[in-house]
């Protein structure tokens, strides 16, 4: 009787244990999937160019407009009466 009783309870505990184990495994896998997706989204949103730029095919990044009171004339920027002229030789790349 006692043995039979133990046999009767054993499988019921096992099913509950298995169900709990599966729940645990599913939760861990779900958490891993969510974490992976989050990491991928963050990496993609940071971009691969390391410069915050739009990249080769990304959206065009438009700069903030200048104050309208700064004079512009061709390649010159600023007042014609300025005491100092700064020339920047630059390569756009």
């Amino acid at each position: 009787m006692a043995l039979g009783s133990r046999k009767g309870k054993g499988p019921r505990r096992g099913r509950r244990g298995q169900a709990g184990l599966w729940s645990y495994v599913i939760a861990v896998v779900a958490a891993a999937v969510v974490a992976t997706v989050l990491i991928v989204v963050i990496v993609l949103s940071l971009g691969g160019d390391g410069d915050g730029g739009g990249g080769v095919d990304g959206p065009v990044i438009l700069p903030s407009p200048r104050p309208t009171d700064i004079a512009q004339e061709g390649h010159l920027l600023g007042s014609a009466g300025a005491a100092v002229t700064v020339i920047e030789y630059g390569d756009f790349q």
Partner: protein, 144 residues
């Protein structure tokens, strides 16, 4: 990387400094294309807007397509330039020889790295902001 935004904020907006941009092409074909595109934007009075857009869309790897003709045309469209005229200008290559000539002249002047900053004709020792700021303040102080 350009120190111009800080220089503009501190000195140009106050009327003390005037800035001139001279594009040279030292880093390959897309440098030439970008400089030509800036000239095409200049035809429509938007040199500086295009200049700033180029800097904003730089990528670390040179000649990787970031400044391909297609992308340069996208920049123009995003800025609201008249695209038929811009595209025609860029496709014609009419500024290519000028860009190459300007680059040769700059190299002959001893400008062999970019950016190079001249303050009242004198090259700043370095192009970092503090050095350029000091050179400007010295020029302002000396009345050069």
């Amino acid at each position: 990387m350009s120190v111009l935004p800080q220089i503009e904020e501190e000195f140009v907006s106050t009327g003390q400094v005037r800035v001139q941009s001279r594009a040279i092409a030292m880093q390959g074909e897309e440098s030439v294309l970008a400089a030509q595109a800036a000239e095409c934007a200049n035809e429509q009075g938007q040199f500086w807007e295009f200049h700033d857009t180029l800097y904003a869309n730089q990528v670390p790897e040179h000649n990787s397509g970031a400044f391909s003709p297609e992308n340069l045309k996208r920049f123009a469209e995003a800025l609201g330039l008249e695209t038929v005229a811009f595209d025609s200008c860029l496709d014609s290559g009419r500024y290519a020889s000028r860009v190459r000539d300007d680059t040769k002249v700059a190299l002959q002047m001893g400008i062999n790295s970019v950016p190079t900053i001249l303050v009242n004709g004198r090259a700043a020792v370095s192009w970092d902001l503090e050095t350029v700021r000091e050179a400007i303040q010295e020029a302002l102080g000396s009345g050069q």
